[in-house]
């Protein structure tokens, strides 16, 4: 029966041949555009605006410094700052601090994601729960980290757990909110399809809700990361563990000492970490958009 009236068949093989032919005919217009040679071009295309932006910022900064608007100890020039930064990042101590902070940030964030996801899913699933604590989630988020310290100390004494607590309570609401808003905007059609396919409970979340709300979830994660990092910077001032000095402590210290150049160095360090993490999120986001067919014109 299959051989009966084969209206159409899989023509990928002959398509490829046709494509070859066409490439011969009109090589400029057709043909696989993204060859290996183009990879370098792609990297360059994504890099030059960044480099240009950085160059412009540094130039503007240098000009302000040259104009002597403020004395050097208030607003040090790029040369001084990059010198200090260079010295800073060549010390093992600094990298120990980065390690300590990043470990805290990543564990805290991972826990926040876990808790945020569970809470978000639960809240969007059960109407009474949503009515009860839906708004509380954003309420918690508006609480300055510093106000959690008494509670953190009360519950966890002075320990890493206290820092974790502050980080989690800072970041989890964002993650939950992202998920909730994603779930709320899952198109009705898909929900109906899911219902017809007999999705229930966990399977429904696994196969429908989570993938469908992924864009919003990822943007919640991004926000959550920002919150957890900020909470961590505040949290690290809570406990100063002798030994490796975390970024937060060093940053506060630089500020306490009014060492402008060091303060700016740390701003740069934090920015770079933030940007690196964002690049990861963006990679995830782009992969997602490609899968969903949202790239291109």
């Amino acid at each position: 029966m299959q051989a009966e009236v084969p209206v159409q068949d899989n023509r990928t093989a002959s398509d490829a041949a046709a494509a070859d032919r066409i490439t011969g005919l009109d090589a400029l217009e057709l043909g696989p555009r993204r060859s290996k040679a183009a990879l370098g071009g792609r990297i360059w295309r994504s890099a030059w605006p960044k480099l240009l932006a950085i160059a412009i910022v540094i130039l503007a900064w240098q000009i302000v410094v040259w104009a002597q608007w403020k004395p050097e100890y208030v607003l040090p020039g790029p040369a001084t700052v990059f010198g200090d930064l260079g010295t800073l990042i060549t010390t093992g101590d600094f990298w120990d601090g980065v390690r300590v902070t990043m470990i805290r940030a990543l564990t805290g964030f991972a826990l926040a994601v876990l808790i945020g996801t569970v809470v978000g899913a639960a809240v969007s699933r059960f109407a009474p729960l949503r009515a009860a604590i839906g708004s509380l989630i954003t309420g918690l988020q508006t609480m300055p980290s510093i106000m959690w310290f008494p509670l953190a100390i009360l519950l966890f004494q002075i320990s890493e757990s206290a820092i974790m607590f502050v980080v989690i309570i800072g970041a989890a609401p964002s993650v939950a909110n992202g998920l909730i808003s994603g779930i709320d905007y899952v198109p009705r059609t898909w929900l109906r399809v899911g219902q017809v396919l007999g999705m229930k409970g966990f399977a429904k979340y696994r196969h429908l809700i989570l993938p469908a709300s992924l864009p919003s979830f990822i943007s919640g994660l991004k926000q959550g990361w920002a919150f957890s990092w900020r909470s961590l910077m505040a949290g690290e001032l809570l406990v100063i563990v002798p030994g490796a000095l975390s970024i937060g402590v060093r940053m506060q210290q630089a500020r306490d000492l009014s060492e402008s150049s060091l303060v700016i160095s740390f701003i740069i360090v934090v920015l770079v970490i933030g940007i690196l993490i964002d690049v990861l999120f963006n990679a995830a986001d782009n992969a997602l958009r490609r899968r969903w067919g949202l790239t291109g014109s």
Binding site: K70, P71, Y73, V74, D93, G97, F149, P150, I153, L154, Q157, I158, L237, L238, V239, I240, P242, L245, V249, R250, Q252, Q253, A254, R255, D256, L257, S258, E259, L262
Partner: protein, 328 residues
């Protein structure tokens, strides 16, 4: 807490959690921890040092049982005493005296020049804030809590105040060491008032040692050993100034990544004095001033000191006892 679990009949805790700030006014703690003086005298009791950035956090930790004793300024101690209605803490020894004052911009020479100026203090109602407000009152200038009045008093944290002063965003600040020295040395400030000059004998409390009452009751022997370590540390500072400065700065460096510059360290040490005497009279007076400018509700401070153990140790060492009596 851990120390409770390992309670022993001998009145000695298994561990002592001691709080202090990575700050030069806490030099006895810095040196005591650095040189192992506390651990030596505590013997089998393990010392667990904890550091804090400011008084409120230390008090929170003390209240919730995360530390047993801490070095702290007079104000948070009074607040802790007041809010717990005299049940939470005792001051058991002095540590540091002096080292505060009003630094101003060039061109301000008399109190009257301060009219319409902005002056920073570390925190509303803290020792320096009270000192400034009291001093302004004495000089016929008023300042309200919202930053209005003849002189605008702006409470801001030390880092902000330093920076604001360096940029001319404020006209002066009443600050403690080492910021006093830094404003003078780095930002070319002028010392208009040295708080020392306002007190009898130039002595007023800047830092002292407090302990949780529960802990004191349960482990008097441990507290005594802590005091022993404290005395050893203070003695070290008074006998070997240079060595003390070096040790303190090394510990600062270890805690915060960056030691103080030598000139600032030297200047700060010069303005500070380290003593076992808690200078009770200055605490009472300062509290009186605070009530006078409306920053403190009337509070009964009687009993805030427990200097018995300290005096015992001083006596054994052949030193004169200290007193918790108010100056007459």
């Amino acid at each position: 807490g851990k120390s409770d679990d390992a309670a022993s009949a001998s009145g000695e805790a298994a561990a002592l959690r001691l709080g202090y700030f990575p700050n030069i006014t806490h030099a006895p703690a810095l040196i005591g921890v650095k040189n192992g003086l506390y651990q030596q005298s505590l013997g089998s009791t393990k010392l667990e040092p904890k550091t804090f950035n400011a008084g409120p956090a230390a008090v929170e930790a003390l209240f919730s049982g995360a530390v047993d004793a801490t070095y702290i300024g007079p104000n948070p101690a009074i607040n802790a005493w007041a809010t717990s209605k005299g049940t939470a803490i005792k001051i058991i020894a002095g540590s540091t005296s002096g080292g505060a004052g009003l630094v101003v911009k060039d061109g301000i020479n008399t109190p009257a020049d301060l009219k319409g100026k902005k002056i920073a203090t570390p925190q509303l109602g803290n020792t320096q804030d009270v000192a400034l407000r009291h001093w302004l009152k004495e000089n016929g200038l008023n300042a309200d809590q919202q930053g209005g009045g003849d002189v605008s008093v702006l409470p801001q944290d030390n880092a902000t105040a330093l920076q604001a002063f360096a940029q001319g965003a404020i006209d002066g600040a009443w600050v403690p060491e080492p910021n006093l020295s830094r404003m003078i040395l780095e930002s070319k400030g002028k010392l208009l008032v040295n708080e020392k000059d306002l007190w009898p004998n130039g002595q007023f409390v800047t830092t002292h040692l407090i302990v949780k009452q529960e802990f004191l009751k349960k482990y008097p022997a441990t507290v005594k050993k802590l005091l022993q370590g404290h005395l050893a540390s203070v003695k070290f500072i008074t006998t070997d100034g240079a060595g003390a400065q070096k040790a303190a700065n090394e510990q600062l460096g270890a805690l915060s990544g960056k030691p103080l510059k030598d000139e600032i360290l030297a200047s700060a040490f010069k303005n500070l004095s380290f003593t076992n005497d808690p200078i009770a009279s200055s605490l009472y007076t300062s509290a009186g001033h605070a009530q006078g400018v409306g920053l403190l509700k009337p509070v009964e401070l009687k009993g805030i000191y427990d200097l018995g153990p300290l005096n015992e140790l001083l006596k054994a060492d052949g030193q004169p006892p200290v007193s918790d009596a108010a100056a007459s």
